[in-house]
Symmetry: C2
């Protein structure tokens, strides 16, 4: 269906987000299991619960807009999840894998920050106040999740991974 | 090749970024041609020139790290570009298409902000000062490009697109 109004584009953006969030609900448990650092595992688990609420908020947006949530699979999130999964298989050290998980999860959070930001701007322009409020709540959660991941990365997680400078010594 | 040190992971991240930037160099001209608003076209064109410089900066990082830039195709960027292209074909109105281009481009910028942020954090931890400086330059450009897109979206571009509220009147 061609999109020729901002209302069509808003619905398109929300469907893309719905597909993205649903893919993430399925993908996060694997990232939780792969995490070694307990704080990282807890952060991902908490974000899984948030993601499930974000799906519900999107459902509410569709109700408010009198529209269906059915749409194409979000290819952006599909690529991000594939990339995040691939890196899990390529890392041998627990600390390095945790750092890689954070890197993948932050790409995912940034995707969602951009997508919620765009959808909210459209909803604001169209005067859909309740939709704006729902999207703002999710946007703030995504930003907070991203900051938590940054602080975990700068804290213990990455510091505990072998740098590679002493690599030969370790191998010997 | 399994990654078992932070140095391996840094190189992996930089290869992912190199693939992402190269894909973007090929994809941006199409987005430039599709843009109707002159300021949006200019912003995307300027970012294409920046992206080419960012590729060169990444080459310098590989030289500093005595490593090759060859790696897998970045699946995250592949998905983002596919999504950004698909939406071009689905939009009928110039203003709506411009708003959609901005939405896609901001997802791409956010991907790069996350990826450069992660790579820079690894390089900092490993004490690769020159690499940190190069990545900081590109990270700042990505953040500025994202802000410019936000201001274009909030300015004239989206406001000029039909809202959809007067849609039936337009059709009649």
């Amino acid at each position: 269906m061609p999109m020729d109004t901002m209302q069509d584009l808003l619905v398109h953006e929300l469907r893309d987000l719905m597909s993205a969030e649903r893919q993430l609900v399925r993908a996060l448990p694997r990232m939780v299991r792969a995490a070694s650092d307990p704080a990282l595992g807890e952060a991902l688990e908490a974000h899984l619960a948030e993601t499930e609420e974000q799906v519900e908020r999107l459902e509410q947006c569709f109700e408010l807009l009198d529209s269906s949530s059915r749409g194409k699979k979000c290819k952006g999130m599909e690529g991000l999840i594939t990339e995040a999964k691939d890196v899990l298989e390529e890392t041998d050290d627990d600390g390095v894998r945790d750092a890689a998980i954070i890197g993948g999860a932050q790409r995912i959070e940034h995707y969602e920050i951009a997508a919620y930001g765009t959808a909210r701007a459209f909803a604001e322009q169209l005067g859909h106040e309740e939709v704006v409020q729902l999207l703002t709540q999710s946007l703030e959660e995504e930003a907070a999740a991203n900051e938590l991941l940054s602080s975990l990365a700068l804290g213990e997680v990455n510091a505990e991974a072998p740098s590679g400078k002493a690599r030969r010594m370790q191998v010997q």
